[in-house]
Structure formats: C-alpha cells, structure tokens
C-alpha cells in the first residue's frame, strides 16, 4: 500500500517546508504590529469608559455573554459526531476501490460490504428519526413528568 519510506528520508523536505511557514508567521506578525503602530501614532487619544463596553448593535448590552446553551444543541452535536466520523471509512474505500474492482471477485465484495456498512448506519438513523430525537421541538416535551431524583 504505502511505499516503504522511513520518516528520516522525508524529513529533509519537511525541514524546508517549515522554514517557509516560519517566514509567513514572521511576516504576519510584523504587518499586524506595523498597522497597529502607525494607527497609534496618528489617532487622537481620548479614553472614555463607554468605549470599552461590549458592542451590541449600538444598544446598551443586556446580561452576560456567558449564557448556557440549550441542551438540544448537544444532542444534535452527538448525532452529528457519530454519523460524521463514519465518513472517514468511505474515503479510504473510495481511494482503493478502482484497484479492488480490477481484482476478480473482490470488486463486488468491496461494494456490497460498503453497502452493508451504510445500511447498518441507515438503520441507526431511521431509529433516531422515528424516535423523534431529530425534532427540535419534541425532545423536551417527551420527558416523563415526575423525576425520581432520589435513588431507586
């Protein structure tokens, strides 16, 4: 699959690449400081406490920006992680599929195996969907009324 190439052989090229990156970083920092420095020399100096207030569309800011996000965001994120990561199995498969298809018998096997893999995922998705966990509104109302906070 991967040609046998010890890291040491590659890393001379890597060294040079990092030098390029370093030059970019230095230039980026230099230009940023340059712009700030020139502005400091030219602008009038007139401090006022209201200038330090968080900008909220010109209105006076209300409450703290540190609000708790709705727990439903987490749920959607959970489903996203699980189904998203499965995609990394598709890429290697797609890369070598042409070679596999050329080999007798293996092509069909590889195709069917991936379809099987996706079918199992579809079962999972169907389950989540049918249980209503993808609905934005439903997920909180479906909780049972009384919570047994004391241990059972």
């Amino acid at each position: 699959m991967i040609p046998a190439c010890p890291l040491a052989a590659v890393s001379t090229g890597m060294h040079a690449d990092f030098a390029t990156v370093l030059i970019f970083i230095l230039f980026g920092v230099f230009f940023g400081l340059l712009a700030l420095g020139i502005a400091r020399l030219l602008r009038p100096h007139n401090p006022h406490p209201e200038k330090l207030v968080t900008y909220e569309c010109g209105e006076l800011p209300q409450g703290s920006a540190w609000v708790r996000f709705n727990v439903r965001f987490y749920l959607i994120a959970l489903f996203f992680i699980v189904f998203d990561v499965e995609v990394i199995f598709l890429y290697p498969w797609a890369v070598v599929f042409r070679q596999l298809a050329a080999a007798p018998g293996l092509g069909l096997l590889a195709l069917l195996e991936m379809l099987l893999f996706l079918a199992i995922l579809v079962v999972g998705l169907a389950y989540v969907w049918a249980k209503g966990d993808l609905d934005w509104v439903k997920s909180l109302t479906a909780r049972p009324a009384g919570e047994e906070v004391a241990g059972e």
Partner: protein, 101 residues
C-alpha cells in the same frame, strides 16, 4: 535538525501524559472526557508514526478505527453527562457521591 520518529514518540508521550494528568487532576467531568480524548489521540499519533516508519498501512487502519471508537465514546459520554446535568444541575465529579461505601 530533522523531524524523525523519536520526535513523534516524544510528542505522543507528552500528549498522553497531559491527558492522564487532566483525568487525575480536573474535577469537571466534561474536561475529564476531553482529557481522555487526548489519551486516545496519543495512541493514534504513535500508530501513525510507526505506520509511516515501518511502511505498513495497518497502523493507519487502526487509527481510522480508533477515530470511530473515540467518537462513539465521546457521544455516549456526553449523552450521559447531559442526563446527569438534567438530574443534578452539576457535572462536577466530586458531587457524585450517591454510590460510596
């Protein structure tokens, strides 16, 4: 200086120890779960580095598999955290004292 296998192993050890100390020191279970992800990440770095060094793709395959496992683990861990937060309004590990001798 060239970046060789040793550097990757040192990096992996550092990441592993960071994760482990995070698990041992931090009391917020969300942070603990993140530290655990770091530990898994350290294993992945070692696998990828050795895979490249040995010219053997099975290490890469292992990394892909462990990505999926790590995602599933994070998903389940977070789901349980959400549930615990609903019940207790806290995800601090020191508050989990219902089950002690």
């Amino acid at each position: 200086m060239t970046i060789g296998l040793t550097h990757y192993l040192v990096l992996a050890t550092a990441v592993f120890l960071t994760g482990l100390s995070g698990v041992l020191v931090r009391r917020n279970s969300l942070i603990v779960l993140m530290s655990i992800e770091l530990m898994l990440c350290a294993g992945n770095i070692v696998f990828a580095a050795f895979s490249r060094w040995l010219g053997d793709a099975s290490g890469h395959v292992f990394v892909l598999m462990s990505f999926a496992v790590a995602a599933a683990e994070a998903a389940i861990g977070l789901a349980i955290l959400v549930e615990i937060h609903r019940l207790r309004r806290s995800v601090n590990l020191d508050d989990l004292k219902t089950l002690t001798e």
